[in-house]
């Protein structure tokens, strides 16, 4: 009973009709399960073949959109950051870009470079988290430990840059909070060389291990036109052959001034998605290397807000590189209107839509996270596969429930 349909791409009525009957074996892979994460799968099996899988999400729904309507603009940055704590600069960057368009303030070039560096560090860290979780889904505890161990290096780099391991809250409207600590380049160079060497080891023990390839190849195939019509995002989209990346839009960060090549795979199966993530780590290391070389000097907060600071405080900010928030941040009053922003997170493109009515609190903030966009794939790809393939597909899609439930 395949869901594929020529005209409609997906025949949702057939998909939504839950197959009952005598020989259907229903399993609740629930919130408490070694591999289900923060959600529940309602899997209907016929023998070993999955007839229907229904992801039951909402276990980590912390009502961010409703809370955002009750808080001032600047307070929403740490709030939205808790959606994806392992990729925190990318998710807050979307909200900050939308806010900057509303206030029409542009961050200085140095701040854009700093934002790009932290975004790429978070991307590497988040991809390593994804590879680790995908590894433990196949009970390959070594790659889980290696990925989480090597992730600590990037967390330490981010901690030196921003002061926090995960919740950096680094981008603020008009710039960034901290300047680059000295000696950052050497430490990054060491980390980059170590990481590139480690990626070979990941390939040998995990990706190109014939046992793991037998679990990943040909499983959960997402063809090119289906990926487009289903709105897949991030590595899952690029693994199906679509060369799309929100970084190429040149709307934020310093990506327009750096040359980097977006990797694309063709097959679209789980193996291509895993290889895609390893390739993207290499590209991210390349981006950070270029960004550190081409970084211009200058202030890290927009002139519009720097001049609001009292002169003595402004000297200290420019000298120490630690930004003090001007008083106006307490209740920013952007003009009434709507803006839209899209930022490429590790798992895909996050979409923000801020509606403001001139008061210090937003009227409505809409956030669509990449995992919520991939939820459709989680519903459709495992059908007609073996029961054990469900976790291979779930791991390769790199689905992070707190980000999807918001």
């Amino acid at each position: 009973m395949s869901w594929r349909d020529e005209k409609l791409v997906v025949d949702w009525r057939k998909v939504a009709k839950a197959p009952g009957g005598e020989e259907i074996y229903e399993l609740f892979i629930g919130p408490q399960h070694p591999a289900s994460g923060h959600m529940r799968f309602i899997v209907r099996l016929e023998g070993d073949i999955i007839v229907d899988v229904e992801p039951d999400i909402g276990y980590v729904h912390r009502t961010m959109e409703k809370l955002a309507e009750g808080r001032e603009y600047i307070k929403n940055i740490p709030l939205f950051e808790r959606a994806t704590i392992i990729d925190s600069n990318n998710i807050t960057l979307g909200y900050v870009r939308a806010l900057e368009k509303l206030l029409d303030v542009e961050p200085p070039p140095r701040a854009r470079y700093l934002r790009t560096i932290l975004s790429e560090i978070n991307r590497i860290q988040s991809h390593l988290y994804g590879i680790g979780i995908a590894g433990i889904m196949l009970n390959h505890s070594t790659v889980f430990m290696w990925a989480f161990g090597d992730r600590e290096i990037w967390m330490q780099l981010a901690e030196e840059l921003t002061g926090a391991r995960l919740t950096h809250t680094y981008s603020i409207p008009g710039g960034v909070r901290r300047d680059l600590p000295d000696g950052f380049e050497e430490r990054f160079e060491k980390a980059a060389r170590y990481m590139l060497r480690r990626l070979e080891d990941y390939g040998k023990i995990f990706l190109y291990n014939p046992m793991i390839r037998s679990r990943y190849e040909g499983v959960g195939v997402l063809k090119k036109h289906e990926a487009e019509r289903l709105g897949a995002v991030g590595p899952n989209l690029r693994a199906s052959g679509v060369r799309y990346d929100a970084r190429l839009l040149g709307d934020y960060g310093a990506y327009s001034e750096l040359e980097f090549e977006v990797p694309v795979q063709e097959e679209g199966d789980s193996f291509a998605r895993m290889v895609q993530r390893v390739e993207e780590i290499k590209v991210s290391i390349e981006i950070i290397r270029q960004a550190l070389k081409k970084m211009p000097d200058g202030p890290i907060l927009a002139e519009k807000y720097l001049k609001l600071l009292p002169p003595k405080l402004r000297e200290r900010v420019l000298k120490t590189g630690r930004v003090k928030f001007p008083a106006i941040f307490a209740n920013l009053r952007p003009p009434p209107g709507e803006t839209v922003a899209r930022v490429e997170m590790a798992r895909g493109e996050v979409f923000y839509h801020i509606v403001s009515d001139g008061s210090p609190k937003p009227y409505r903030v809409r956030i669509v996270t990449p995992s919520f966009r991939n939820l459709v794939l989680l519903r459709l790809l495992p059908r007609e596969h073996r029961f054990m393939d469900l976790l291979a597909i779930y791991g390769s899609l790199d689905y992070f429930p707190p980000e999807s439930d918001r």
Binding site: V15, K66, R229, V340, E349
Partner: protein, 162 residues
Amino acid sequence: MGEKANVLIDSLVKELASLAEKVERAREDLVVVEVSPDKLVQIASLLRDRGFDHVASVEGIDRPKEEVIEVVYQAESYDENLRGVIIELKTKVPRDKPELDTLIDVWPNAFYMERETWDLVGVVFRGHPELKRLLMPPDWEGHPLRKDFVVKEEGIFVELEG
């Protein structure tokens, strides 16, 4: 944005002007289209044929002052020259009986977004096969994102309840 993209967008805007009530190019990469509920499916399939083959977000904005719920579809495209642009389809639905035709036949990936919009804002999408709770617990009454659903604000002393 590329020159070819601008040409395409302008032709699209002219084409939509006849069907929709108001079409304006709000920003360089944002086209806002206001549509009446009954012509929504027609305009959506026109957009899909022009290349905007999936939807970035479906949201409901509750406007109690005008007694209306505004449902916004943001259509997006992945191909070369259309990728920077977002088309925003806005429709207004009466607040007491918010009903709308579903668009999952035009844009398949709106399935979960429409279901979430029903769950949080309460807009019923006619023809949607699975309109049930997605993010809220199954036995939850009411729709939290409505303005009349008040959440206790940040008091100076957060009282300890329970």
